[in-house]
């Protein structure tokens, strides 16, 4: 953090009013609704929220990887000042992985089962560096495996010969192949047990120190996020409800939803408290309410919440939350 503060915060990714909609029959469901935030160089930003809140949809849209029936309704994704959404196919192909790589939710399924790990590392290298010859590709692939702690002798094996944790490491190795400036991680450790999760997270912090990339970490696990992120953004029903430095979010949450999320996890240190959680069900996007989306489940709701949707209020330059109670 202190290092970061000294280093001039330079914006790497600037998301401006991004909305993603799903076409369902005649209806258009807004899965991501006018979300804006930035990721600075070398920074780790967490994106939290419950299942179905649109965090993965957002992540896919950032590299224009969303598939029909999803479509980007409005907004801009500025990477170093250039709008990724306006790239043509070839620009997009060059941008992908070279600038921003993605670690997917299910490492189990995101490696191609019929070609070797070696081939899957080499194909991304040669797609962006056609000048590399066979020997160079091999050397780089071995080096990458070593970086994530897999013995290079396993290079020519196939994904099914790897354990779950090793596959996730292999995916991590592939994501580092081109030394991208930003890695989007969509629940990278959800499918793994806590011991392996811990190993991989430690390794990630290590690699981040070594290579200095930025991370956009998507997860529902706030306690995991608290350990490695600089800032945390919280989404509910497609809207950004709070964004603040990690400690602020974890120890001084302002939005009632964030408070609910934080109270759903036990703290390792400090007094034992009863875990409360959030009652009710996620919002039905078919018929969004006129007022605040969280009103129905909110323990602190007031009259105004039913009729008007609150704006994102700036509490201090670092901390914003979307709630009438703060206005």
């Amino acid at each position: 953090m202190t290092e970061l503060a000294n280093q001039q915060a330079e914006t790497l990714l600037d998301i401006r009013g991004l909305s993603v909609e799903y076409l369902v029959g005649d209806a258009r469901l807004r899965a991501v609704d006018k979300v804006s935030f930035t990721v600075n160089k070398g920074e780790t930003v967490g994106l939290a929220g419950e299942s179905g809140c649109g965090k993965s949809t957002l992540a896919f849209a950032l590299a224009k990887l969303h598939k029909p029936p999803a479509l980007i309704a409005e907004g801009e994704v500025l990477y170093k000042g250039r709008d990724v959404l306006s790239f043509d196919d070839e620009e997009l192909r060059r941008f992908r992985w070279k600038e921003t790589s993605v670690v997917f939710q299910s490492a189990m399924n995101c490696l191609n089962p019929v070609i070797s790990v070696n081939a899957q590392i080499c194909d991304v290298l040669s797609a962006h560096h056609p000048e590399m010859n066979r020997g160079e590709l091999q050397d780089r692939a071995r080096e990458l495996l070593k970086v994530v702690g897999i013995h290079p002798d396993r290079l020519d094996q196939y994904p099914h010969q790897f354990s779950g944790g090793m596959r996730q490491r292999a995916v991590l190795a592939i994501s580092l192949a081109l030394k991208p400036q930003l890695i989007i991680m969509d629940e990278p450790t959800t499918a793994l047990d806590v011991v392996v999760e811990r190993e991989i997270m430690d390794q990630l912090s290590e690699l981040k120190k070594q290579f200095g990339f930025s991370i956009l970490l998507i997860s529902h696990d706030l306690s995991l996020m608290g350990e490695i992120t600089d800032r945390i953004a919280v989404m509910y029903a497609g809207k950004l409800v709070e964004i603040a430095p990690s400690e602020e979010v974890l120890f001084n949450p302002q939005h009632p939803y964030t408070k609910g999320l934080v109270n759903s996890f036990p703290h390792l240190l400090g007094e034992k408290k009863e875990l409360t959680g959030i009652s009710g069900n996620p919002l039905n996007l078919y018929s969004p309410p006129a007022g605040c989306y969280f009103e129905e489940r909110c323990p602190e709701r007031i009259e105004r919440c039913k009729s008007t949707d609150p704006a994102l209020i700036t509490l201090n330059p670092q901390h914003k939350a979307k709630c009438h109670l703060l206005g």
Partner: protein
């Protein structure tokens, strides 16, 4: 690897022996035999003693079943399937080896062309799903493919062969041309094969197209496809190495089935175009109760089915690393 192939090979040998045994038992369980028909046709002009001589001449072995069975098995492995009854005294093996190349040429060529075009169109259709090709051309091909082969064959024969008179309406080559490795003979063979091939390709393409298309669409939903795209690989590479490579696995099974029907399946086409292949021979053998020939043909079909399946196993082995240990 050796163990997997060894166990498969053992399985195929066992399957072969079972099929061969059925092939032996079935004709013997059927009521009546060719000699009873002959006997009846002669209306008492043949004496029972003459009948016995005839039977011996035709190679029918008397004796207990295990002796017959042993003789039959020995015959198979020494390539002696006895003489045909209709073409007596031509041996069955000679008739089969005369007809087999025609069928293999006709059915093999059409299957390969169908596969190649069908799979490519399937990939294209899946990639552009919902597009013009996918919603008009592909269903049209499936519609044509759903016609009974007999109907399409006759329509094509009548239209292109009889009315327009563009192509010959029967036989494998022009009998006036000497058979041999000459260009003239090849041209004649190709010219005569045009209509049967066209029929089989038109009828077959829709099936392959949809098989590949549906398999591709399933595969395109997989996470490794999205990751392939996210890696910035070219569309062609994602389509071929990531999607088609995985989508091809279920298709391989279908290819094996199709290859095994190559021999038997061309029956209707061969009949309609009077093509000198195995199907035509089989029909003749059934009509005239030529049991030795029928048994020989069934044997060939069994061998083809098993060989095709073995080739499919090898292909799987090569395509899917999860099978290799």
């Amino acid at each position: 690897m050796g163990r997997f192939l060894g166990s498969r090979l053992l399985f195929y040998i066992a399957a072969f022996m079972v099929a061969v045994t059925f092939n032996f038992v079935l004709p013997r369980m059927m009521p009546g035999d060719p000699f009873e028909i002959m006997f009846a046709a002669a209306q008492g002009k043949i004496q029972p003693e003459q009948m016995a001589v005839l039977k011996e001449q035709f190679g029918f072995v008397a004796g207990p079943w295990h002796v017959q069975y042993w003789d039959y098995i020995k015959g198979i492995f020494s390539g002696d399937l006895g003489p045909s009854l209709t073409y007596y005294p031509t041996p069955v093996t000679e008739i089969i080896s005369g007809a087999l190349p025609w069928t293999v040429f006709l059915a093999g060529t059409s299957t390969l062309i169908c596969l190649f075009i069908g799979i490519l169109l399937g990939i294209f259709s899946a990639y552009n799903r919902g597009g013009k090709f996918d919603s008009i051309v592909a269903p049209a091909l499936a519609f044509i493919g759903a016609f009974p082969q007999m109907v399409s064959a006759m329509l094509i024969l009548f239209g292109l062969g009889v009315i327009l008179n563009w192509f010959p309406v029967g036989y494998g080559y022009n009998p006036d041309v000497d058979a041999g490795w000459t260009l003239e003979f090849f041209m004649s063979v190709a010219y005569h094969a045009a209509l049967p091939l066209l029929t089989m390709i038109i009828c077959g393409i829709g099936g392959w197209l949809f098989l590949m298309r549906n398999s591709m669409i399933n595969t395109l939903g997989e996470d490794y496809i999205t990751m392939g795209k996210a890696k910035g690989l070219s569309t062609r590479r994602v389509m071929i190495n990531y999607a088609a490579r995985n989508a091809a696995l279920p298709v391989v099974t279908a290819v094996a089935m199709a290859l095994s029907f190559v021999v038997a399946g061309a029956l209707i086409i061969e009949l309609i175009y009077n093509y000198p292949g195995l199907g035509n021979e089989m029909l003749g053998a059934v009509a005239s109760r030529d049991y030795p020939l029928l048994q020989g043909l069934l044997l060939i079909i069994v061998v083809c089915v098993l060989t095709a399946n073995f080739i499919a196993d090898l292909a799987y082995f090569w395509l899917d690393p999860r099978l290799r240990k």
